[in-house]
Amino acid sequence: MDKGIWVEGSVNKGVMEFLKKLLDNNALDAVLMPCKNKTKDSYAWFLMGKEGVNEWAVPFPPVMTTQGATMVSYLTKKNGSWKKTGVLLRPCELRAVIELVKLKQVELANLVLISFDCPGVFSLKEYLAGNWQELDAAFEKSLISQTDFGQTEKSLSRNVCSICSNFTGKGADIEIGIIGADSKGFWLIPGSEKGKEIIKKADKEYNDYQSLESRAKLIEEKSAQRNDKREKTLDSFQQSVSGPENLMNILAACINCHNCSRVCPICFCRECYFDSRALGSGADEFLQRADRKKGLRLVPDLLLFHMGRMTHMSISCVSCGACEDACPADIPVSMLFSVAARDTKQIFDYEPGRNINEALPYSVFNFDELKEFETPYTKEYSQQA
């Protein structure tokens, strides 16, 4: 599917029109997408029927208040979406949805996934502290022109966004292509048979099929640039957090509130192991630990929590940045997890959200895997014996 349907004009208006047509023609019963909140100073997700779509619906918000994949999980976890629903997701939200399907926390039946070329978002704190009219305008400008925002503006997009190399909506049923549109419009790109059908149902006028060759080239270039920047940034970040001393420096501000895990789309457990009784003990045991370590931070097990989360979910980490937005201590959590995830992903040649049929490495067993890590230990032990 290397062709897209060209739609002239504003991408915000054009996409809203497209969604309204889908609702009007009963191709969709509802859409799940961001809207301005009641007081208009932030955004929230809304499930909207034909009658509910209003002027405050914003397909491309400049901030990620709650991760879209978590919303999709709420809607579909128990028995799948009751009605045919279109969901507008950022690329990282789309990838998290796919991971959650693998973890049986999302059911895709009756959903039409729509995604777009994402220029990144402001950090939640920065957005809430700033002037929202100005920030909204700055974001829209960079969305339409598909430039990295912030470079000429006062504010910058989040660190994880500025090194994101999966910035297109590839993999969705319908991809909204803005890169290469030269600020003149956008393409509706069907990514699946389902997507193709839906576009047909919206309006017969969506028929201006164009080749996407030049778009593909631009994406390739931007991807290469971003990958390069990502590697370099993560390399230097990794250096700054490597070793117990550096790691503890960066985690010194952590208050062990676990909010990073609460907003993480991948951390779906109802009861987190690190909140369970398993880590509790009587006061005397705590005193013994304090004695051994010459001081025990209360509440304890802060480092264990982060390390545990890294092993539990980093392989599925989509670098969406929700953890960092929600951190009350401004710890660069999402950078930390992006670094950890880079290694785990490489070991298993796994890219979260890339392909729904690609099994989670944890759920498959290969007799021969991880030998390179095992060998040094087995050697050591056999020598001891």
Partner: protein, 370 residues
């Protein structure tokens, strides 16, 4: 009436003496972390390591009541542990003891005048200027710029007035120079034993005259409290105000996670009760045509207000962690005070006063019933 005496000890000498002469097995207080630029609530078992303690450091990265609950919930200490707690932390601990989430056994409770704390994010060990202006404010009995709004409006900052019979040792700070020897009071039997062990003769010791600026600060704070409550009540008025107050909420529930009173392992609002079949989302979307997700956002806050508002000690942790700057602590302080006054209940003041939610009297709340 609690009497303070002039000791000749600095805080570090005091801590060392409690280890040496009282023979405590451990001590918990705010302390410098071995790495980074932050302080954290830390448990020590030897006086050398405890030299890192800075008990009065104006930051609350965790409510000490919650920390001590973690320490003592499963089993109390078999030997004595001294714990430094701000008045609101001590009150939180007392509430937790009432709901069987902590134990006082073998704790030597040390509290002190609290001039308030900065939001934990705003204060680091190297913030010399801020810390200096804080010390200055403590000495003059003023509100320091930059401390949290609930602290500015806290009228329960004196342990001797607001916590009855719990603190074994009280340290008076307001109106005194930061490097002055400690002014101490030993209200309990355990406290008096400690004084004796430390070689303090309570009868002969020089009494500390109460400083005028302490009562001036109480007045100032009362004024601030009235204003804060008025402002919050105005904002919360009617359903529209209530919804708008919590409009930015992203339902992360961080406020409940750090709340010392919210101890439930599985919060009702995180339970399966609030996981719906898909149908209900569409039915709720219904006529209006739209439904905001996550759902039950305002309900969560109302639920928390009714579940723990009665025990809210206005410690401010909830507001410190809110990632979207909702004045959670100010709301809970205001609404909490209203429910508490209905039952003539002051959370954490008296350890033997039962929680109103646990008692039934036939004649209560008739004004609402009719």
């Amino acid at each position: 009436m609690v009497t303070f005496i002039n000791s000749s000890m600095t805080i570090s000498e005091f801590i060392a003496a409690v280890f040496d002469k009282r023979g405590i097995a451990g001590l918990a207080a705010m302390a410098k972390l071995p790495s980074g630029d932050k302080a954290a609530y830390t448990l020590f078992t030897d006086k050398e390591s405890a030299e890192n303690c800075i008990p009065f450091f104006p930051s609350m990265p965790v409510n000490g009541g919650r920390a001590i609950s973690k320490l003592t919930k499963q089993a109390s200490c078999s030997k004595e542990v001294a714990v430094f707690l701000r008045p609101c932390e001590l009150r939180a601990l007392t509430e937790l003891v009432k709901i069987s989430q902590a134990g006082f056994d073998n704790l030597l409770l040390i509290s002190f005048d609290c001039a308030g704390v900065f939001p934990f994010k705003d204060i680091s060990l190297s913030d010399q200027e801020k810390l200096k202006s804080y010390d200055n404010a403590v000495e003059k009995g003023e509100n320091c710029d930059g401390i949290r709004p609930v602290c500015m409006a806290c009228t329960k900052f004196l342990p001797e007035e607001n916590v009855e019979n719990q603190a074994d040792i009280i340290i008076s700070l307001i109106g005194r120079k930061p490097d002055a020897p400690l002014a101490l009071a030993f209200p309990s039997d355990k406290g008096k034993e400690t004084a004796e062990a430390l070689g303090i003769n309570l009868l002969d010791a020089e009494k500390v005259k109460p400083s005028a600026c302490t009562s001036e600060l109480v007045d100032k704070r009362e004024n601030e409290e009235t204003q804060l409550k008025e402002k919050i009540k105005k904002g919360l008025w009617d359903t529209n105000g209530l919804v708008s107050t919590f409009d930015r909420c992203i339902s992360c529930h961080a406020c409940s996670y750090v709340c010392p009173i919210c101890y439930c392992k599985n919060c009702y609002f995180d339970s399966q009760t609030f996981e719906y079949f898909s149908e209900s989302y569409f039915i709720r979307m219904g006529e209006k045509g739209s439904l905001r997700l996550p759902v039950d956002r305002t309900l969560f806050h109302l639920g928390r207000l009714s579940h723990m508002g009665m025990s809210c000690v206005a410690c401010g942790m909830c507001e410190d962690v809110c990632p979207v700057n909702i004045p959670v602590a100010q709301v809970f302080k205001t609404v909490g005070a209203e429910t508490q006054s209905l039952f003539d209940y002051v959370p954490g003041k008296k350890p033997d006063e039962p929680l109103p939610l646990l008692t039934y009297s036939e004649n209560e709340l008739e004004m609402f019933e009719d």
